[in-house]
């Protein structure tokens, strides 16, 4: 193996923990940002040999990476390997002209902006700090700083969100003309504060909101976006050889590539093993401070498991999945059934082996179809 070509860096700090969030996050602690960045860089040095000499993508996620104290952030970004795509996640309220310039200076060429919604009452339900105009201003600060690849995150299925609320959010997002959009249905994850407060209400609205996914797909594809992954859309290139605006980093996950993740809670998958760093800050910093690897949980990934994952991940994409190597993972009866129902298309060819892809309706039911197809 010549090493992973994809690097994920986790910056866990946030100004506030949103009720629906179940990521590894830490509120405040600005005095620890510097120390944490030191530890991150130490881990990166320890694992440098796992990375290929040529890294293709770097993704700095959180938390709120842009909430990190600016000097620490700059120091981190300047120490990361060069890559064709370098993404940083940002929360609108943290994006100032200065921050946009900092990112640009440090070689970041893609920003994923956590807009979530443009409706004040829905932002309040989500406990987001930003106001609709904060989102817009952040977007233009990034544009002004020269970013030509900006992604917006939207959440739908928020308690109290009506169909016209959803329309308004899509209008507002499209008006900004982002290169990329990620649209997630709100998941009321068990154990979160949010589920405690809104779970029952969400369950009641489930039927009414069932159409929202379809609406999102129709509106965005209607506006010329490519629905390239279950929850992700990008502008189709205006010229035949124009830039590929899909998230190259995330595409690596969906194609089953190896990746290295550093930081607390970060996950790596390399050479048939997956490991997860401790989610706790203190032991992470302590271990790396003394030159040790942080505490980790390891999960072996035998070929059969990898094949199942390739199926699960590959079917999220709009490109056909080659069944070679995954064919044992597929339940042939279920495949025939799904094909009969018009949910899966199978292209059989003696020369290159079978390819399968979900039909548009199959993609709306992708989770259930995948569960069926798993052998």
């Amino acid at each position: 193996m010549s090493g992973a070509r994809h690097l994920y860096v986790h910056l866990p700090f946030c100004a506030h923990r949103c009720g629906y969030c179940d990521f590894v996050t830490l509120v405040g602690r600005s005095e620890q940002h510097g120390g944490y960045v030191d530890a991150l860089l130490a881990e990166l040095r320890l694992e440098r040999e796992l990375l290929a000499t040529e890294v293709e993508t770097v993704f700095v996620g959180g938390g709120t990476p842009t909430f990190t104290e600016p000097h620490a952030l700059a120091r981190l970004l300047s120490s990361l390997p060069d890559a064709e795509e370098k993404t940083v996640e940002a929360n609108p309220e943290t994006v100032t002209p200065g921050l946009a310039a900092l990112l640009q200076e440090q070689g970041v060429n893609r920003v994923s902006l956590g807009a979530q919604s443009f409706r004040p009452h829905l932002l309040a339900t989500l406990e987001r700090v930003a106001q609709p105009d904060t989102v817009r201003r952040a977007f233009y600060h990034l544009r002004d700083a020269g970013f030509d690849n900006i992604s917006l995150d939207l959440i739908y299925g928020i308690p109290g969100q009506t169909a016209s609320d959803l329309d308004a959010d899509l209008d507002a997002a499209l008006a900004l003309g982002p290169e990329h959009l990620s649209c997630y249905e709100l998941e009321a994850k068990p154990g979160t504060r949010f589920t405690h407060a809104h779970g029952a209400e969400l369950a009641l609205q489930a039927d009414a909101m069932e159409m929202y996914f379809e609406v999102v797909v129709e509106r965005l594809t209607g506006a010329g976006y490519r629905w390239y992954e279950t929850a992700n859309f990008c502008r189709a290139p205006s010229l035949p050889h124009g830039p590929d605006l899909r998230s190259q980093h995330n595409l690596a996950y969906w194609r089953g590539r190896d990746y290295l993740g550093v930081g607390i809670g970060a996950v790596s998958t390399i050479d048939g093993t997956r490991w997860t760093n401790t989610p706790r800050l203190a032991p992470y910093i302590a271990a790396l401070g003394s030159g040790e690897r942080p505490p980790r949980e390891h999960e072996p990934l035998p070929d059969a498991t990898r094949a199942r994952e390739r199926l699960m991940l590959g079917l999220r994409l709009d490109e056909p999945l080659e069944l070679v190597g995954s064919s044992d993972a597929v339940d042939a009866d279920a495949l025939a059934r799904m094909e009969r129902l018009g949910l899966v298309r199978v292209r059989r060819s003696s020369s290159v082996g079978a390819h399968i892809a979900l039909t548009p309706r199959g993609r709306l039911l992708g989770g259930g179809v995948t569960a069926e197809l798993l052998a």
Binding site: Y8, S182, Y184, E185, L186, E187, E210, M211, F213, E214, T230, A231, N250, Y253, W254, Y259, G261, G265, A266, V267, T269, R274, E299, T305, R308, E309, M312, L313, R316, D331, R337, L341, L343, R363, L364, L365, G366, G367, G368, V369, T370, A371, E372, L374
Partner: protein, 595 residues
């Protein structure tokens, strides 16, 4: 023991009127059981009976009283077991008819008293529980005397609980019940009135010797079936098994046969000696025909062989139990079982689950139907899905229901019976405020929840008994349930034409709630032949995706999908539709509910 000093008797009583307590007092008084051994209700050997307070199987116990040998043959006390009562009564010359001093005559009392009278038994009337504060012994005695054509003075008044009057009962058995009148020197004949199976000793037959003498080690033959075996041991219960070496005319006891095949010896058959055979068998019993049927399926299909063995075992001492293999596309391999009634079904199920550790699915019960297809022969069907779609004529079993109720509830009982297609037959006052009603009803109308309804509408005061009186033509139709266009055999029903629409709709609505949404629309229909009478649709899912899936949560999402797939594998497949087993259960249970 000379026959002149033998008395064979049963105790017949309504449930909870104190039969078992009286039996216990008799055992105590005659020193068959010491105080130390005494536990309440010795005769009820099965746990289940103890818990439910009902005696399922007849057993015979020998006691001695003032130089006489008394054989107490126990009888069950529930409406479903009239057949077993009649079996026991054929082994007796007398019966104690026990009535609760507070509750008076009940429907079951009437039914069993008539049975005893039909069998020419001497009836010793007993009013029990005279110690209860609410007891009215005089009223109960008057009612009882009236019922059997005796005088109230002749009715014994006792408390089995305190023991008061129990000695008089024993004296009355000696004084009033006839001695057996068999021929001591004729070729030996004995009636098998019950049997049981012992793991080590094989089939144990309970017999009443009518003529001659049977001896240990003697070669015997069951006259109807022709089965030959050696009497490994002869004896009696007192109350535990005691070997006696022989059994003579008039005596009641057991024969250990050593037979390992339970089907080789049938209750009702006559035993005789091989060396000196009788030529004529005893009258025996008429075959009982099960009238209530249900499918029994193991929840885990691997348990099918265990279920088959268990049914075979139960069948040995439950001649009324009927079963044949049945395959259902929805529920897999199982058995279609026939029962005498609902309680019988419930008890069989509980014994299978408890004694044989089986987990069972029981379909909604139905009755037997006689059908004549166009240009075809009359035949009986036991499963709704076996009912031909086109029939010339259908007949269903009818019962004569006997209901005793305080007069203020007569209206409620009539209303219930009218709802259930009942035809009024007769009404009489048993006393100033207790009424005896008889109705003719289709058995199908009572197999589901009739008894519960009767009890709740009469605040528990009604008592109920019935006799099957034969088949009668009915306007019956088979209603099929189709899921995704495929008929589901386990859900087919035979219904009266007038209620088919309403019941079909209720079933279809319930199924719509129970069947999870699929990736396509699933029509659920109720149909009579090709005519759809009710339809609902389980709408297809519009969306079913995992919102996000990135590097950090691949393992978790994979496990989630793997769990989903495992769940799908447990579902039952009806055509393309995945139906959880619980959905069938919910619907099968529903057919027992009515508003």
């Amino acid at each position: 023991m000379p026959q002149g000093r033998i008395r064979n008797f049963s105790i017949i009583a309504h449930i909870d009127h104190g039969k078992s307590t009286l039996a216990d007092r008799i055992l105590e008084l005659t020193h068959a059981v010491s105080q130390r051994e005494m536990r309440d209700q010795v005769l009820d050997t099965m746990d289940l009976e103890r818990e439910r307070g009902i005696t399922i199987k007849a057993q015979a116990v020998r006691v001695n009283w003032k130089g006489y040998q008394l054989n107490l043959i126990d009888t069950p006390g529930h409406v479903d077991f009239t057949y077993e009562v009649s079996r026991s009564l054929q082994a007796c010359e007398g019966a104690l008819l026990v009535v609760d001093a507070a509750q008076g005559t009940q429907a079951q009392t009437l039914a069993n008293a008539y049975l005893a009278i039909e069998n020419d038994l001497e009836i010793v009337p007993v009013v029990n529980k005279i110690d209860l504060p609410q007891a009215d012994p005089s009223a109960a005695a008057a009612e009882l005397a009236d019922l059997i054509g005796d005088t109230p003075e002749h009715v014994l008044r006792i408390s089995a609980k305190t023991g008061e009057g129990v000695e008089d009962v024993l004296d009355a058995i000696i004084g009033r019940v006839h001695a057996p009148a068999g021929d001591q020197v004729a070729p030996a004949r004995a009636l098998i009135f019950d049997s049981s199976y012992d793991q080590y000793r094989g089939v144990v037959a309970f017999v009443r010797v009518v003529d001659g003498t049977f001896s240990q080690r003697e070669p015997l033959r069951a006259m109807a079936q022709g089965t030959r075996f050696e009497a490994e041991e002869l004896g009696f219960f007192s109350p535990t098994m005691r070997s006696s070496g022989s059994l003579s005319a008039g005596e009641v006891g057991y024969v250990i046969t050593g037979l390992k095949d339970v089907s080789k010896l049938r209750v009702g058959d006559t035993l005789t000696s091989e060396r000196r055979s009788a030529t004529e068998p005893l009258p025996g019993y008429k075959d009982v025909k099960p009238m209530v049927f249900a499918g029994l399926f193991p929840t885990d299909s691997d348990d099918y062989p265990e279920l088959r063995d268990a049914l075979e075992r139960l069948k040995l001492n439950d001649a009324a139990l009927f079963y044949e293999p049945e395959t259902s596309q929805a529920l897999g391999f199982g058995f279609r079982c026939g029962f005498l009634g609902l309680l019988h079904m419930e008890i069989v199920r509980e014994r299978l689950e408890r004694e044989f550790d089986l987990d069972l699915l029981v379909t909604a019960p139905n009755v037997a139907y006689r059908v004549q297809p166009p240009n075809g022969e009359w035949h009986e069907v036991h499963t709704p899905s076996d009912m031909p779609a086109e029939v010339e004529e259908v007949e269903e079993p009818y019962i004569k229901a006997s209901i005793i109720v305080p007069k203020e509830y007569v209206g409620a009982v009539m209303e219930l019976n009218n709802e259930r297609r009942g035809r009024f037959d007769h009404l009489e006052y048993l006393s100033e405020d207790r009424v005896h009603l008889t109705y003719e009803l289709p058995l199908a109308e009572i197999v589901l929840d009739y008894y519960d309804q009767l009890k709740s509408r009469t605040r528990g005061y009604a008592s109920f008994d019935y006799d099957v009186i034969g088949f009668r033509p009915g306007k019956l139709v088979r209603v099929d349930i189709l899921v995704g266009g495929e008929p589901v055999d386990a859900l087919s029903l035979v219904l009266h034409r007038d209620s088919a629409y309403e019941r079909g709709r209720a079933l279809v609505e319930r199924l719509r709630e129970e069947i999870p949404r699929q990736m396509f629309d699933v029509p659920i229909q109720a149909a009579i032949g090709s005519r759809v009478i009710a339809r609902e649709t389980v709408k297809a899912k519009r969306k079913d995706v995992l919102a996000k899936c990135y590097g950090g949560d691949i393992s978790r999402k994979r496990k989630l999908l793997e769990r989903q797939k495992a769940g799908k594998k447990r579902m039952k497949q009806v055509g393309m539709v995945e139906v959880p087993q619980e959905a069938f259960l919910a619907v099968l249970n529903l057919s027992g509910e009515r508003k």
